[in-house]
Subunit: 155 residues, 2 copies
């Protein structure tokens, strides 16, 4: 174990991995979230739209997991998005407990448009870094994710 003592002169959080991750995520995404705000689209709605991009029918629980939300939150979010005509729910044919969620035409075009803006923002972000660093970023993050995928069961 051997936890080093708090380095003097450095704030705890400035050397705390979880905080650095949270802050980096926040700062980078806040730039794009500002664009969403201007268009009157909430972050949660954008997450659902992007999560449904290219997916033919996600489940409610699956979407919640994807969007880093609780399942009841997703149910209500989908209620609102369905009311706005962005998504449709349809029953799963094989398992009647399951609800499949898909984009409507409106939802699809909104998702496409936002995804384009998102890619442009991403390119802009990556352009601020030296190429080697930019390369390393995604693969490092993927490595973290791979090693932290929640132990499904009996981990």
């Amino acid at each position: 174990m051997n936890i080093p003592p708090q380095p003097s002169g450095v704030r705890f959080i400035d050397d705390y991995l979880v905080y650095l991750l949270a802050r980096a995520a926040h700062q980078v995404s806040s730039e794009f979230h500002e664009q969403l705000r201007r268009r009157g689209i909430s972050v949660a709605v954008w997450r659902v739209l992007s999560g449904l991009l290219g997916s033919e029918g996600e489940t409610v629980t699956g979407l919640a997991e994807l969007c880093l939300l609780q399942q009841p939150t997703m149910t209500k979010l989908l209620d609102r998005m369905a009311r706005q005509g962005l998504v449709v729910r349809s029953p799963d044919l094989k398992d009647r407990r399951v609800v499949r969620v898909a984009l409507t035409e409106d939802g699809q075009s909104m998702a496409d448009e936002l995804a384009l803006a998102a890619r442009m923002h991403e390119a802009d972000v990556l352009a601020r870094h030296p190429p080697a660093e930019a390369e390393a970023m995604k693969s490092l993050l993927r490595a973290i994710l791979a090693r932290h995928d929640k132990p499904r069961r009996a981990g």
Copy 2:
């Protein structure tokens, strides 16, 4: 510009930097947040406690920025934490608009204890990765933060 088209067979979000960051932050922190849950401490409270560690009197706005929250949210969070005896507010002597926030003795000991648990979790997280990768993580995140520090004014 030249935005590449959506690679076929790969979900949008699986190659989207902002999502990878958000997901990595979420997954890594959720492990520690589970510990907080068991102790009945909210994530927001922990953030404030850790933000005040080693700091002699943060401002409300400064704390909000540090904790990635809005200032009004911080005001109300501090109300609750003050009621619980974790922090104290005191007027700044030089600028009467400013309120300085500091840990109480209870708050300090809770912060110390949690920071220890956080360091242990961090060590555990880093241990799952090859040393070179673990090294790279923090410095890469710091590089991102350095290049994305919000343009204060006239950016």
